[in-house]
């Protein structure tokens, strides 16, 4: 599974440009699912058919990662840019970004020698090694993503884009390990989550599921002097109770908790004060969809080095697989 994780997290794919991730996933799932298609917005939808007696279930994990978009190339070839998704200025200076054509750039800050305060978006730029505007190999509208390789630290894995490729890996793995039971399961690998859970909105409309679960990372407060949170790394997948965009359907939450307890999978309950997931837009699709979220505990979310616990990952596959293999009662 680590090979799959590595290829997914290292794939280049800021919001709106998820093609490489989609290719990796559709290659991995080819022949393993009953139907696979890409919708007009780019969501990859893979169906594992059930025997028709169960529910239509939608599992959403997003393919896109946060990034930047170039807004200006100055006379000396430096690029000004804006955020794509929830990029924090704190994580910028000295970091590298990669563009679609492979160009690597370093993020710099105005007046670096003297000014060490947190920069604003107007004070940062990307240096791609160009010496004049004409020389710059990227232009206005080009998107970049953080450039960081995957590292296996043993118990823990670290990379850019664990948010949410780790969930893509979990969902893809669950598609292979689940028993074909009563449910029609739509594994949806969504686009544009980081800019407003957009891909999930339109794919939910198309699928019209009876129940939905998003799979996404959740921040943890288990590092030195951190504000404590309900979830920590290494204690198993988290069942979401609420976040700032969604209240998990109690029936969905209870179904997830019950399944974890019945199968002996350790789990945590998650109450998140900020942020939301694809379940937010799925929940209000059409006439409403009971929705919940399976969260993967993750340190340093929205930085180029997002860290997860490998056992949390494999337990998440087990839990998701168990959830989907059996009749769903809420």
């Amino acid at each position: 599974m680590k090979t799959l994780i590595k290829s997914l997290v290292e794939a280049w794919g800021p919001s709106g440009y998820e093609g490489h991730v989609r290719t990796t996933l559709s290659g991995y799932l080819a022949g393993q699912v009953d139907e696979i298609r890409t919708d007009s917005m780019g969501n990859l939808i893979a169906l594992k058919k059930g025997d028709g007696s169960g529910k239509r279930v939608m599992i959403a994990s997003h393919m896109d990662e946060i990034g930047i978009a170039v807004t200006h190339v100055d006379a000396k070839g430096f690029l000004r840019f804006g955020p794509v998704g929830g990029v924090m200025p704190l994580t910028l200076v000295g970091n590298r970004v990669r563009f679609a054509n492979g160009t690597i750039g370093v993020i710099g800050r105005e007046d670096w020698l003297v000014e060490r305060s947190l920069p604003t978006w107007k004070q940062v730029f990307v240096d791609v090694g160009a010496t004049c505007a004409k020389d710059a190999p990227v232009g206005i509208g080009d998107m970049g993503a953080f450039d960081r390789a995957f590292c296996d630290l043993g118990k823990r894995l670290v990379s850019k884009a664990m948010d949410d490729r780790i969930a893509c890996a979990i969902a893809a793995q669950a598609a292979l390990t689940m028993d074909p039971g009563p449910n029609d399961v739509y594994f949806v690998f969504t686009v544009q989550e980081e800019v407003g859970t957009r891909g999930a909105m339109v794919s939910a409309f198309g699928i019209a599921p009876d129940v939905a679960v998003s799979v996404d990372v959740t921040p943890v407060g288990d590092t030195p002097e951190a504000t404590p949170t309900s979830v920590v790394l290494g204690k198993g997948p988290a069942v979401k109770v609420k976040d700032s965009g969604m209240l998990a359907h109690p029936g969905v939450k209870d179904w997830m908790v019950r399944t974890a307890e019945n199968t002996g999978i350790p789990y945590q309950l998650e109450v998140l004060v900020a942020g939301t997931t694809d379940a937010y837009s799925i929940q209000t699709s059409r006439a409403g969809v009971p929705a919940g979220c399976l969260s993967i505990p993750c340190r340093y979310v929205h930085t180029p080095s997002e860290m997860v616990d490998y056992q949390d990952v494999t337990l998440s596959v087990d839990l998701l697989s168990a959830l989907l293999s059996n009749p769903i009662t809420m």
Partner: protein, 339 residues
């Protein structure tokens, strides 16, 4: 002149009656069907010349403009107001306005310079501290002429600046009457597919009209026509101007409301390059347009936004280049033939 009619017509978000009447009269002869939906969107269908084509293309421009609403009466006969849409408080002071369907004239008042301490003269007051003066001497007198909830629009008259070869226009509401003008021109063309020209409502308060219009039209793709941010005033720093007046239509790659469909974006850029039509890319991830609502309709709709750069948008008076507007029509017209 059509742009003059469009710019001068009143239509603050949620009360687009006047501007809709103007557009309806202009669009009716050009379309096969025109209807108004429950939220006030004007949806005009021009059937395609090729019955086997089967595609539905939605072009959208919003009719509504930013403005104010009367929310209270002061004892001295002046009126409290609330903003409708995004308005910088600083542009409100001492502006002429028209209130309600009776178009009662008024002025947004504030104490004169003589009464403001020297240190406060450079500070903009909050709009809550301003009031609309309609010349009434008591609340009772004011209530005879104005009702709570009356919409207030800026009293601005369109004018063309044509001296010394200039081809500029100044007026109010170019966001998005410039887009409406472009859309009316596009309705004159012939297309193989069914063209839905949708003049939307309530864009300025959250892309509301477009959301329901896109649901009912259920288009295969959409192009949104806008008047957009222009900040081409002198700047010592070499940094993004969002757009520049006179540099042609501005194509959006991404704003706060959506990421443009790559195919449509490329079609516009390629069309402009091949035909030698000047164009620019909007150089900021700022603002939102009806494309934000349309592209998320149903199972998703590929969408892109093209805009006429407009100086001083969201203010009582702005300025655009007539040439930019004409180039926008040319570009979209040509791109539509290449879809």
């Amino acid at each position: 002149m059509i742009l003059q009619q469009l710019s001068d017509a009143r239509g603050v978000s949620g009360h687009e009656n006047d501007i809709r009447k103007v557009i309806y009269a202009l669009a009716k002869p050009l379309a096969d069907e025109c209807r108004v939906d429950a939220l006030g969107n004007l949806i005009c269908l021009k059937r395609g010349s090729d019955a086997s084509d089967g595609r539905k293309v939605m072009l959208a421009a919003h009719m509504d403009e930013i403005g104010l609403m009367v929310v209270g009466f002061n004892g001295d006969g002046t009126l409290q107001f609330e903003k409708v849409g995004g308005i910088d408080d600083r542009v409100l002071l001492a502006k002429r306005v028209l209130l309600g369907d009776k178009q009662v004239p008024g002025v947004i008042g504030f104490p004169p310079i003589h009464l403001i301490p020297r240190g406060q003269r450079s500070q903009a007051p909050d709009y809550e501290k301003m009031a609309i003066d309609i010349g009434a001497n008591s609340a009772e007198e004011a209530k005879k002429r104005v009702d709570l909830g009356d919409y207030v629009s800026f009293d601005t008259h369109f004018e063309q600046l044509t001296s010394d070869g200039l081809r500029m226009a100044k007026g109010k509401a170019f966001d998005d009457r410039a887009g409406c003008a472009v859309l009316l021109s596009l309705l004159e063309g012939d297309y193989p597919f069914d063209l839905y020209a949708v003049f939307t409502t309530q864009e300025e308060v959250g892309l509301r009209g477009a959301r329901v219009a896109a649901y009912s039209v259920a288009p295969d793709l959409a192009i949104v026509l806008e008047g957009t941010i222009c900040d081409d005033l002198p700047n010592k720093r070499d940094e993004s101007p969002v757009t520049r007046v006179g540099n042609g239509p501005a194509i959006t790659f991404m704003d706060r409301s959506f990421i443009a469909d790559k195919g449509l974006f490329e079609t516009l850029v390629r069309t402009a390059k091949e035909l030698g039509i000047p164009f620019q890319l909007k150089q900021a991830i700022a603002g939102g347009t009806d494309a934000g609502a349309i592209h998320l309709s149903r199972e998703g709709v590929p969408a892109v936004t093209v805009a006429v750069p407009a100086r001083s948008i969201h203010a009582p008076v702005g300025m655009i280049s007539m040439q930019d507007l004409e180039y926008t029509v040319q570009l979209v017209q040509a791109a539509l033939q290449r879809l």
